[in-house]
Symmetry: C2
Subunit: 642 residues, 2 copies
């Protein structure tokens, strides 16, 4: 029997996620009735391949088995677990026990001779001759030779190469695995509004201004630059500063009110530049080892060309008006939602796919999708499949801040990464539990968290009230708890903490509605922390994956202690964050030493990448004191002294 095959999402209905060049760990229960020994392998292939690769599974005890394989290219893959009764191993293990009990083995060796002779027929080349020879030796063995024959490693090795898989064999139904390229698994994102990118105060920023920031962003260690919508912005019901219902002539409006007579989702706002400028920005980023992520917001301003060209793509009320976007009592008068269930849905869906491929043709391979949960599940499954058929390396980040089941389902449908509730998990126990949920099965099999301490929509109460130390701590947490994280950069670097009004999570004077200018030199402290942490992220493979995240205990609950470990290199990073952003906290760690790859009483050194200090520690209990005025925490590289 084969059961509990992992990774597997909803019994194989959806693909589990993996990454090119990284191990996929397959686990399964493989067992039979009775006392027979079994063998097991994993066969895997890329979709469309004729042949299967095969790797043997190793037993973990209690009928659990494990194997790993490493996909080499992005795209859909599939694996199957096959198990069979190993008649020879069963016979051999009994033979060894009989030998130990001093039994006469004559008849048993006859039984073995039959199994070996049968294997000789399956075998090829030299092995066939050697197995035939062994069959004769078993059959003709004199009592004095029994012990030697029963324990011969040559025979067991030969037989392991030619198992009889016909006996009681079972194979699991194929489990799909979607393999993403490396960037999907790990990256530091930086979000900025191009409109605010000019270094010249008062001038509307352009994509060329953005390109001039790229070297500095690369120096800070960012991997992905994400821009909110860059398209023409509607004039009808345009929002004023701070989301005011009315705007003045000079107001720039919300970039999410997409489309005007200057074009829609495939046009660039004239004040920002041209479509060619997007291509040039992609190239500039590429030259610095970075990538561009564009925003996908499938909605229209009332001035979008589609409103006139395709009235059937919008929902009309009984009075003939088009329903603007709202979530009562919130209103978005500057945005019309698309009617994905329109009778003309095929044309609409194709047009939306066309938007993605348009930007793909300009070199864009990462898309941050705005509110995917307000569009049909079936649409996303179709769209992502279509895009991946063209380029399996395209990455989609789901911006669905909604109920857990809906966020999970979007990830199952194919979104590469997902925003999370991280920003609001400020209690240490809550944060530990939430991160554990995100980084262990079943979620970890299909959902990749991307942690953001802030976004243009989210200025948390903690950042509003916690001062600089809370910015530093939340940054350190985001960048080390998850392999993927991001910041709404200019506002974060400058530690902007004033809300639009008390109780709101909106920024006062948000870039969403106006052009902002920020003093270039004012954010040096935060930038230094960012550069250090991102450098550590690049240097340590342990921080480039989430599966190994382990929380350790401490006798002070305000100290959050966690580690990550890269199995291949043995690289280990240990992070300790003071979750109290106002007062110094101290305490003793209670480290799970095996999770650090260390013996329980091992001496080891921890080198802090934030301040360059190194400490000599030993065993689980070590003293820590963290003063938020000086440092948000320790970012330790763990090493064993020579």
């Amino acid at each position: 029997m084969i059961g509990s095959v992992r990774p597997q999402v909803d019994g194989g209905r959806f693909a589990a996620k993996a990454t090119v060049g990284r191990d996929v760990v397959v686990r399964a229960d493989v067992f039979v009735d009775g006392h027979d020994r079994v063998g097991a392998t994993v066969r895997w292939q890329a979709d469309g391949d004729a042949a299967w690769h095969e790797v043997p599974m190793e037993p973990l005890g209690n009928d659990r088995w494990r194997a790993t394989f490493t996909p080499e290219a992005p795209g859909l893959h599939r694996f199957k677990v096959t198990g069979w009764v190993d008649a020879f191993a069963t016979w051999h293990s009994e033979l060894v026990r009989r030998l130990a009990a001093g039994e006469d083995l004559t008849v048993e060796l006859q039984v073995g001779a039959q199994l070996v002779a049968a294997a000789a027929k399956r075998a090829g080349g030299d092995d066939r001759i050697r197995l035939k020879d062994w069959a004769a030796r078993l059959s003709d063995a004199q009592p004095g030779q029994h012990a030697e024959i029963a324990t011969a490693e040559e025979l067991t090795g030969l037989m392991a190469r030619w198992p009889d898989r016909a006996r009681n064999a079972a194979t699991s139904s194929g489990s799909p695995i979607w393999v993403d390229r490396e960037r999907a698994a790990s990256g530091a994102w930086y979000e900025l509004f191009p409109r605010s990118a000019s270094r010249e105060r008062g001038r509307h920023g352009t994509l060329r201004d953005v390109a001039m920031h790229v070297p500095a962003l690369a120096d800070l260690g960012f991997d992905v630059l994400y821009l909110p919508p860059i398209h023409p912005i509607g004039h009808t019901a345009r929002k004023g500063p701070n989301n005011a219902r009315s705007s003045s002539p000079g107001d720039v409006g919300s970039p999410w009110a997409i489309g005007s007579d200057e074009g829609g989702h495939t046009a660039v706002h004239p004040d920002l530049g041209t479509v060619d400028d997007v291509g040039a920005l992609v190239k500039e980023l590429e030259a610095h080892g970075m990538e561009l992520a564009l925003d996908v917001a499938f909605q229209c301003s009332p001035d979008h060309p589609w409103v006139a060209e395709h009235p059937a793509w919008f929902k009309h009320r009984p009075d003939g008006s088009i329903r603007f976007a709202e979530n009562p009592p919130k209103k978005y008068e500057d945005v019309y939602p698309l009617d994905f269930e329109t009778d003309d849905w095929r044309a609409l869906w194709e047009a939306l796919l066309g938007v993605i491929t348009f930007w793909m043709d300009r070199g864009v391979r990462i898309f941050r999708v705005d509110n995917p949960h307000t569009k049909p599940f079936a649409f996303w499954e179709w769209l992502i499949d279509e895009v991946h058929a063209i380029d399996p390396g395209v990455i989609f980040l789901s911006e669905a801040f909604t109920r857990p089941r809906v966020m999970e389902h979007l990830a199952k449908l194919g979104f590469t990464q997902s925003y999370t509730y991280f920003a609001w998990r400020t209690d240490p126990t809550e944060l530990r539990d939430y991160m554990t949920e995100l980084t262990t099965p079943p979620l970890a099999e299909y959902m990749r968290p991307n942690l953001w301490p802030n976004t243009p929509d989210i200025l948390t109460e903690e950042l509003q009230t916690g001062g600089p130390s809370s910015f530093r701590a939340r940054f350190l947490l985001a960048a080390t708890l998850a392999a993927n994280y991001g910041i709404y950069g200019p506002a974060f670097e400058h530690m902007e903490d004033r809300p639009r009004e008390p109780g709101s999570e909106e920024y006062l004077h948000s870039d969403k509605y106006e052009i902002r200018w920020r003093e270039p030199g004012a954010a040096a402290g935060m930038r230094e922390l960012i550069a250090r942490v991102n450098a550590t992220r690049h240097a340590h493979p342990a921080l480039q994956q989430d599966a190994s995240l382990t929380f350790h205990r401490a006798d002070n609950p305000m100290l959050l202690v966690y580690s990550k470990r890269d199995e291949r290199s043995g690289d280990v990073v240990l992070v300790i964050v003071n979750m109290d952003h106002r007062h110094a906290q101290s305490g003793w760690t209670d480290l799970d030493m095996p999770a650090l790859g260390l013996a329980w009483d091992a001496p080891f050194t921890v080198a802090d990448d934030l301040d360059g200090r190194t400490y000599a520690w030993r065993g689980p209990r070590n003293f820590v004191r963290l003063d938020p005025a000086h440092a948000p925490g320790h970012l330790f590289h763990v090493a064993i002294p020579r």
Copy 2:
């Protein structure tokens, strides 16, 4: 979307288990993209029924839904979860929010009128007229009437009765549920060897002697009497006392060495009586509210009639001999295993089914199956299905003390109940964790534990060394942790604790190999405890199920504190066992009050059924002291004072 449907075993490959007259609790995630409201129902039916019963599901929050239904007859059942977008509820919840925000509702009420008019077409009888009327009222409403109409309960009630399930509806694939009769869910078992049932010292006991014990067993509160094999016993290689390899002429041999020239699995050992005596015993038990369980051991002594009649049903070695049963270096020379994979397997399997139906025809409806894990999984799935097609009320107890995955799989295949590792879980934390695993999903959905503190094969080290107090404690644990439990009665009542040899779990002078006689009056103390606990089990529905088992904390880890609660009646039993069988232990409880159905600071009384005392308690913290010399624990009935 519908996901995480529970109960469901391996995605519906196997049936979950339920009981006639008891609630099946169905849970599922039901959700859609966007902000639409959904509705959900469970439809269920007995296999073969044309119609489906339907029960609405209630939302639990976070897109989780729940419904219960109560099957009325044993046999296979099926349920499906259906969910749909509730356009009216969506519209109505937005309407209420618009009303609160002071918006003009005129156009919105037109939208609602269309939904109500559509519902009128679906509706029948008076509802159709009333809905038509409401559609008109919505359509014609004057501003002054908007608030009244928006909050009218008559309208929401009418619309809930006639939902539009055509919209985005989804239905889960049918989940199978196997429904057993009541005895499967709860019962106290008593095992005895008929050979030792004579009150006259030295005489071979008979089935008629067994029948004479029935009134006393009923007085002790037992529900099931289980007898080891009652068939003729082979003479070849018959075992002597204490499993000696050779026997003397007067030795009775092991009842599991089934078959001689006097017959096989459908015969009764002449020294025990006749097949008719079995029928008479069934009737005597029935008259006392009890049932008979027979042993099913599908193996043969070398003298079994099948050995000569069907040589193909046994596995032969290269030298022509039949392989006797063994698990090297253990040998069972008096037993031949059957070859379930013989070419003649159809005839063999039918013959084995014939054994079961033979005893079913004599009124036996419970079978304790010996070592099912050494026979093919496929055989058991077939056999149990065939038996249940004749009588879905037949109960099979799996005696598989083997690896967890194999025990679980046998339960999935159809075994009604399963022996467990309970006897060896003596550490309080281990026992708590194990019982939690057994009584929560996924295991609890398909595996019913039957706890035995001892069996003829299992005299644990704890009982060997712990004295009378360990017998009392292990009894109280078995009888209150699980709704099904059993004892190898005479040896347990008499607190027999001497092993065959040091380090062995075999009884010295086991009934398995010789006739035993025990002083009738010697076990009064244990019998009194048994009678009290079984009476409590019968009086309290809380103890007749396992799903509600909850462990509570105490500041002394040697105090095991747990409760069970019957949801329908509100009946609550709280048990506190001193896991230290040598010393008195005391401490303070930390009760999970809601699990007891009580408010956190509620006063309540606990009445101990073991000594008749009542205590007035309040809140979670209450003092307990238990001296093993006097009592193994408290068996409390929890009540709220008037």
